[in-house]
């Protein structure tokens, strides 16, 4: 047995000695070594289901499938049913040509097999594929103070900041192994010290900024540090209602992808900021002032990755991270009204709205609203736009989006919501 620096319980040591089987030993050893690398002194029990980032069956990643097989063979599964990031494909709602399909078939050739493996190690159900697992309709909802082991960056920042739960930004597979052993290493965002803010973000803007633009500005400046934001409550109020949660969901995802933010505090809004206020700031914090000019500067700084910068967009993705139910309603109304005002019937650019399968089902239950959306020509799906754009043929297409995360990781071009609406209803 290796020598470990971490304080381990008798039960954990027994597992590490292989008394409960070789596979559980490897799972425990991986999490312990990972924790030790980041200075964790012990493991702590997790209070809720894990959320996995690895939702795609890319044949290249053979060690992932082998590990799954070993876990299944050893009859190991997570203590609580888990959720996982979105599926990569939905040919019914996101049309692809033959060549694109061929590439997808190679890229995600192990999807079906991998989903079967996920089910055997504890996947909640066949609808548990979303990056917004914390929404009411999906139901992987932590409570404030819960210790978790999540991996998807946009879900991590939401759980930490908006809910006040505690999870690190775990690497893929480590979160699954944490779910298997039911414990996570105690370091970083799990501890009070790791939740202190090292940046004060001061908003001096004339109107509520677009959340994806504001998140981008914050993420690019603080990178992986914790920001404490003041001035947002002037526009959002202090009640964490659905609208505010949606705003923080999208802002957080942009912070997490344009930088690597795993936790933010918003004064008078997020739970820890409400309780502790500016005591959350470390003594020698840095300050970043965001005004209208700074937001314009950030917006202008985004490179256009299209070959032909003046190309007419061929596709529009709305919903990365996945939309909430109220956001689908809002987009449905906005698109329908904008078309009506312009005397048009259908969207002029194929438009894809993405949301969790459970959220999509809930929306479809409202037949009138669903009919209104489909009559505009827009489609509703549950895929991950990022995984769609990982196909080099799709990446070549001029695609527009309201997601700053999608802009960061792909060739998609970012526009503010109002500009997206204007373009798709031209």
């Amino acid at each position: 047995m290796r020598e470990y620096k971490m304080e381990l319980t008798a039960e954990e040591l027994d597992i590490l000695k292989g008394k409960h089987g070789e596979t559980l030993r490897k799972a425990m050893e991986s999490v312990v070594l990972y924790g030790e690398t980041f200075g964790a002194k012990r493991l702590v029990p997790i209070d809720g289901p894990v959320h996995l980032v690895t939702s795609f069956g890319i044949p290249l990643l053979t060690p992932v499938f082998d590990k799954m097989d070993q876990l299944i063979e050893a009859n190991l599964r997570t203590e609580k049913p888990f959720t996982v990031d979105p599926r990569p494909l939905d040919y019914e709602n996101v049309k692809c040509n033959i060549l694109e399909k061929l590439v997808f078939k190679i890229m995600y050739g192990k999807q079906e097999e991998y989903e079967k493996q996920l089910k055997k190690v504890g996947l909640k159900d066949s609808k548990a594929f979303t990056c917004t697992c914390y929404l009411d309709e999906v139901g992987n909802i932590p409570k404030k103070g819960d210790i978790l082991a999540w991996a998807e960056s946009s879900a991590v920042v939401y759980a930490n900041s908006v809910i006040g739960a505690r999870t690190n930004r775990n690497s893929g597979i480590i979160e699954l192994l944490s779910g298997i052993i039911g414990k996570t290493p105690e370091f970083g965002f799990i501890e009070d010290e790791g939740r202190k803010a090292t940046w004060l973000i001061q908003l001096r803007v004339s109107k509520l900024p677009n959340p994806q633009l504001l998140g981008s500005a914050i993420g690019m400046k603080v990178v992986e540090d914790v920001p404490y934001i003041i001035g947002l409550d002037e526009f959002l109020g202090s009640k964490l209602n659905d609208e505010v949660k949606d705003y923080l969901k999208d802002m957080g995802a942009a912070c997490a992808s344009n930088g690597a933010v795993g936790l933010f505090h918003a004064e008078n809004i997020t739970p820890e900021a409400k309780e502790e206020g500016r005591k959350l700031l470390v003594e020698d914090y840095k300050t970043y002032i965001i005004d209208d000019e700074e937001l314009d500067r950030i917006m202008d700084s985004y490179p256009i990755m299209w070959k032909d910068k003046d190309a007419r967009p061929k596709l529009c993705f709305i919903g990365c991270p996945h939309l909430s139910l109220s956001q689908i309603y809002k987009w449905t109304n906005d698109i329908a009204e904008s078309l009506k005002a312009k005397g048009k019937r259908k969207v002029s650019i194929p438009t894809i709205l993405t949301a969790a399968p459970d959220v999509v089902d809930e929306f479809k239950n409202d037949k009138k609203a669903y009919c209104m959306l489909t009559s505009t020509g827009a489609k509703l799906t549950s895929i991950c736009p990022l995984m769609y754009m990982n196909n080099p043929l799709c990446a070549k297409k001029p695609i527009i989006t309201n997601s700053n995360k999608l802009r960061t990781y792909t060739t998609a071009r970012f526009y503010l919501d109002e500009d997206i609406l204007d373009q798709i209803t031209q």
Partner: protein, 147 residues
């Protein structure tokens, strides 16, 4: 003249090898994916954004870098490369190791018994001093000697 640096051994080992240096963060997915997909016998760094590494053979080399960057699949790609037997001999980080690289080297070590010797926190001075092609000796206690 030799220069000696001391870091923290994440996965220890006594080895000697040739340096390949990246002064900026290494994107694991972009660097290794192409070679892994082709099941190539050696890894030729394929990330065009990383001018230091692009086009260089990384198999069996000691990669000196500040940290790794990019997609959260990075750790799994690193593990895959180790499984294919075409990974680097060692990773020497000037900064604290990031979660992607940590997961990759630990999972390869525990599940595949494939060790990529890993030392972190060697400091900025190390990354400034080390040169491409230089012979490096690594000792179990985290000592790194540039020859």
């Amino acid at each position: 003249m030799t220069k000696t640096f001391k870091g923290r051994p994440v996965l220890k080992g006594n080895i000697e090898g040739q340096a390949v240096v990246s002064r900026e963060g290494m994107n694991i997915l972009a660097t290794f994916q192409k070679s892994a997909l082709k099941k190539a016998k050696t890894v030729i760094a394929a990330d065009q954004n990383n001018k230091d590494l692009y086009g260089k053979n990384l198999t069996g080399k000691i990669i000196c870098l500040p940290k790794t960057i990019g997609s959260t699949t990075g750790g799994m790609v690193l593990e895959t490369i180790a499984k294919l037997g075409i990974g680097p001999k060692a990773l020497l980080f000037s900064e604290h190791i990031d979660s992607l690289a940590a997961a990759g080297v630990i999972l390869a070590d525990v599940w595949l018994d494939e060790r990529i010797v890993t030392i972190d926190q060697l400091g900025d001075e190390f990354l400034q001093a080390v040169e491409d092609g230089q012979t490096i000796e690594i000792k179990e206690d985290g000592t790194v000697i540039l020859k």
